[in-house]
Symmetry: C2
Subunit: 246 residues, 2 copies
Amino acid sequence: MLITSTDNDKIKEYSKLKERKYRDQTGEFLIEGPHLIAEAYRAGIVKELILEQDAVLPLNAPTIYVTKDIINKLSEVEAPTNVMALCRKMETKEDIGKKILILDGIQDPGNLGTIIRSSKAFHIDTIVLGENTVDVYNPKVIRATQGMIFHINIIKKEIEPFLLSLKQLDIPIYGTKVEYGKDFRTLKNKDKDTFALIMGNEGNGIRSEVLDLCDSYFYIEMAPDVESLNVGVAASIILYELDRRD
Amino acid sequence: MLITSTDNDKIKEYSKLKERKYRDQTGEFLIEGPHLIAEAYRAGIVKELILEQDAVLPLNAPTIYVTKDIINKLSEVEAPTNVMALCRKMETKEDIGKKILILDGIQDPGNLGTIIRSSKAFHIDTIVLGENTVDVYNPKVIRATQGMIFHINIIKKEIEPFLLSLKQLDIPIYGTKVEYGKDFRTLKNKDKDTFALIMGNEGNGIRSEVLDLCDSYFYIEMAPDVESLNVGVAASIILYELDRRD
């Protein structure tokens, strides 16, 4: 099927997916570029390929062909490629595993994407998004994950009741603070096999009522005249350290 | 002095500083927000404060007052604060120290800013920007550094001749590769006191002719189905590891 009008009903529907509201309503979202599409395909969530007339993608999925104008209308980047895809959101797994990362109010899409990418690299089983966290299907988030979003379990929870449920399971909860607390390097190997690590908002860190529910507090040692690291960097360094075995 | 017209000559000159060409010509750049201005002031590079009429900043510097329209014209963010400053570029130090980070073609302003911030946190003495690296005075870079850009020595060099000069000084050159190479954790304490670490471009890594000049190659161990980390994250983890003493 070739669609040539940007006023086509299907294209108008797809265009609405730029807004979180419509992504939430439909359970669908758009991605662009061959690399992301390949990763989504590998995860089995591609519903339809949206290809510019002359584009070729050797994937077995329903396909519509469109004009460059339509790609430009659907795309969220300045210089779009000629391939996009409609995807359905990932299914979430009930089994959250033993290595859990909890995000309390991450607001910047690039930071969330980076954290998801690093979580996959350092063997996190489940990422828990608290209230006030940016939409994980925001296109900027997806781009920053480099497709790793499609290969890790991501769930949404209200953080406080979720932490109480973790306590029932005897999963230790690690909080992060810019200062005080213990150096992460003091963690023993056995403390790295099962944990829930919490990272907080870019400006304000972890909310105090959430900090109160942590079992222990850690920080990253750094030069004294530096206030803090970027939260994506801080999370990644800690995940790297928790993945390290002495 | 109160300026009320966006057509004022001074304001028109300042507005040009959004372009790299004019920053290079004048050696000046604009910053916004109280936090960045405080850091620039601490570094002694604020030439003039640009305050909205009702704004107060308790700093001892020449000041002009302007309207909200002028702030909006000069600002590069969606929701500007009411304080900006004209700064002169940092002076560079001839003495590059013993811990050097070399960037070969970092293109994303956020990545460069994050790397500068982490470099300060983990005791890098000098950052060397190779050809094809994004302008360090790009406003997005400066924001992402959280002001740390004003407190670290940053110089521009052609990388290949610079590496040859490092070899004369017997400074070991560490290259990074996504795979192969040694794990950074194998480095001894004595190998962490003097070094030049090279990080490469987001998409392509370090250019092969630059890689050829490295003395040893390292990588970060991670899950096998993850291709790579964000370069700002990778640089930060390595700097963290190089700052660590066993």
